[in-house]
């Protein structure tokens, strides 16, 4: 059922994206003619006919959706490659960045939240509050640039840009370590916003759960502090955090665009940036489609995680 809804949603996204791109002034023909140094109406019409842009809107839309269903996202004249190939080349880098940032932010955020909920007036708690304030208010590109200056220029521990060092050769592990080294700063930058969100929320829910009746029951059973907090309380405080994390998936992806730009990360974000400048409509549409896909898959994963954590969610919908 969920999967069915997801497919419908994806179709709706396709229609909307396409319509909006269609409404925007200017099209591929304009850009192509510009890159050729200008052209007259006749040539423009010729280009439009070549790309099928002279057809009525609904025909174009139908064709586009039909193509997408066959996994054909069109051809990028700018990169001279099929869009699908272009995106699949870039997608892994973005997925790596997004998932690592999201999972680390969740994991560390929850741990910080739990620690600070147990001692609401302790040092750790104030640290979380400060961190959250910083995470909320600092713009991603600014954090990224500061980190670059600090850890790539002043203290040279991390590489400045890119995802791998092409001068390195060796086995799997050599490359693995190389990618990880490149990954550290972008992940910290992207994760910091979400870490702030998750640690605040898990602190709040954990404090509420620690005051609940079933935690009192757990204490009355004579269980150890560790069991009370990490078995009985934690599992209950996870649902809101997971829900939020699911909702944030789209924000993580749009955040990734900025982070990728700062760190020249070879992912979808950089591609999106370049293709918007180049008015490369098929590529933009393709990227929008894939981001929607990632968000929808992320939401499905969120649902699964919620069911795992809370039995009351099972057997519904």
């Amino acid at each position: 059922m969920r999967v069915f809804y997801a497919v419908i949603l994806l179709l709706a996204v396709l229609v909307l994206n396409f319509s909006m791109m269609h409404l925007a002034p200017g099209d591929v023909a304009d850009t192509i003619s510009q890159s050729m140094g200008g052209a007259d109406e006749e040539i423009l019409d010729q280009i439009r006919a070549d790309y099928g842009l002279d057809q009525p809107f609904l025909v174009q839309l139908g064709r586009y959706i039909g193509n997408v269903l066959r996994f054909d996202l069109g051809y990028s004249f700018f990169y001279n490659k099929p869009v699908t190939e272009l995106i699949l080349q870039r997608l892994p880098a973005t997925l790596l960045l997004v998932f690592v940032a999201q999972i680390l932010a969740l994991f560390i955020g929850v741990i910080l939240g739990v620690i600070s909920a147990r001692k609401p007036n302790g040092i750790a708690s104030h640290f979380v509050t400060m961190l959250a304030l910083f995470g909320y208010s600092a713009p991603v590109f600014w954090t990224g640039i500061l980190l670059l200056i600090a850890f790539s220029l002043k203290i040279q521990i991390f590489p400045v840009a890119g995802m791998r060092d092409i001068t390195i050769s060796g086995g799997f592990w050599v490359h693995f370590v190389d990618v990880v080294r490149h990954l550290v700063l972008p992940v910290i930058t992207l994760g910091s916003i979400f870490l702030a969100l998750y640690s605040r929320l898990s602190r709040a829910t954990m404090m509420e759960v620690l005051g609940s009746d079933y935690v009192r029951t757990a204490k009355a059973k004579g269980l150890s502090e560790r069991e009370v907090v990490y078995k009985h309380a934690l599992k209950n405080s996870l649902s809101p955090v997971i829900t939020l994390a699911g909702l944030q998936f789209s924000a993580v992806i749009s955040g990734a665009v900025l982070v990728e730009a700062v760190f020249s990360w070879p992912g979808l974000g950089t591609l999106a940036f370049q293709s918007i400048i180049a008015r490369d409509t098929p590529t933009i549409l393709g990227i929008l489609f894939f981001s929607a896909l990632v968000v929808i898959v992320g939401n499905l994963l969120t649902d699964l995680a919620l069911r795992l954590v809370d039995p009351r969610m099972r057997g519904k919908g």
Partner: protein, 329 residues
């Protein structure tokens, strides 16, 4: 006479509130023999639950503390016992069931796990042994189809069934004392009767002493041998249940009893019009005052009541009343 199982002496529990420190329990003493049932009675905010939490060592952290007096369990001082020792006692020697069966069970674990857990913690049972014992216990608290329902989550059970699960958890390690804090308040009347029956049967089988906290006089008459009437953190009256119901020696006990029409009807065969104890329990700020705290609501109030806190007056059969006019009541 053998030493009592639980002996509470001059207990004083203080809560830190915005207005300062208030003694929510002030100079409370009572004893509980092995296998005995006593009831704490009183309106909300009289310190009944605080007494229970004090015995369990579960007073709200940093807010509540035992300021004076002692709690002796089999001769062992609990008020100063280490947290580690208290954990060994909780759920094993002294266990507790709570008012709210709907929220007292953890929603994300099966009831079987929640019963088995306490067995693993205290009796070193293996996972599978604890699980099969949990099934037996579920059967013992009369949940039909225990074999299957042991895998249920709390949300799949009714309020009465959840309270049975709570009882199964509390009695899993065959504790010497069971504290039941208004165990039936949230349940409807027919279910209440079933729970009382169950508790009485289990008590007969295991010899567990029960401390029952309630404001339901019917429950007291059904469950307890002795009762302690509490008012504003203080002991108002204590003694055998029949004696107090027949002849209360404190205006507050008398007021509480006259609020329950059917008890009067069966015990004295005459019906009184429905009455209430006018007024409300004083606020925490008043609790420490050296006067009778019931004075503001009492029909027998005199100047003496406002000037000095009344001492406990003893009557025959162990009935004790903290009232200046106890003889006259």
């Amino acid at each position: 006479m053998t030493a009592p199982l639980l002996k509470v002496e001059n207990l004083r529990i203080e809560l830190t509130t915005r207005d300062g420190v208030a003694p929510v329990i002030d100079d409370l003493s009572f004893e509980l023999g092995a296998g005995e049932s006593i009831s704490f009675v009183g309106e909300s905010g009289c310190g009944k639950s605080m007494t229970a939490l004090g015995i369990m060592g579960l007073l709200p952290e940093k807010i509540g503390r035992i300021a004076a007096g002692s709690i002796l369990f089999e001769g062992e001082e609990l008020s100063t016992a280490s947290e580690k020792r208290m954990r060994e006692i909780r759920g094993n020697d002294i266990s507790m069931i709570f008012q709210e069966p709907m929220t007292s069970l953890n929603p994300v674990y099966t009831v079987g796990e929640q019963i088995a857990e306490v067995l693993r913690a205290h009796q070193n049972l293996s996972k599978s042994a604890a699980w099969s014992k949990a099934t037996e216990l579920l059967d013992a608290v009369r949940i039909p189809n225990a074999q299957r329902r042991v895998n249920d989550y709390p949300f799949q059970m009714s309020g009465g069934q959840r309270q049975r699960v709570m009882i199964a958890i509390a009695l899993a390690c065959e504790p010497k004392i069971l504290i039941a804090d208004e165990p039936t308040t949230a349940l409807d009347v027919t279910v209440q009767a079933q729970i009382f029956d169950l508790l009485n049967d289990l008590k007969r089988q295991t010899g567990t002493a029960i401390i029952m906290i309630t404001h339901d006089m019917g429950a007291v008459a059904e469950m307890a041998q002795r009762m302690i009437v509490m008012y504003a953190g203080r002991n108002a009256e204590q003694g055998p249940v029949e004696n107090i119901i027949e002849h209360p020696r404190h205006p507050y006990s008398r007021g509480l009893i006259s609020c329950v029409p059917h008890i009067m009807a069966t015990l004295t065969e005459e019906r009184h019009p429905l009455t209430e104890v006018a007024g409300i329990v004083p606020s925490l700020r008043e609790f420490g005052k050296d006067q009778c705290l019931f004075a503001s609501r009492c029909t027998m109030v005199s100047q003496k009541c406002l000037d000095k806190r009344p001492p406990e007056v003893a009557f025959a059969d162990g009935q004790k009343s903290a009232c200046w006019h106890a003889e006259a009541v």
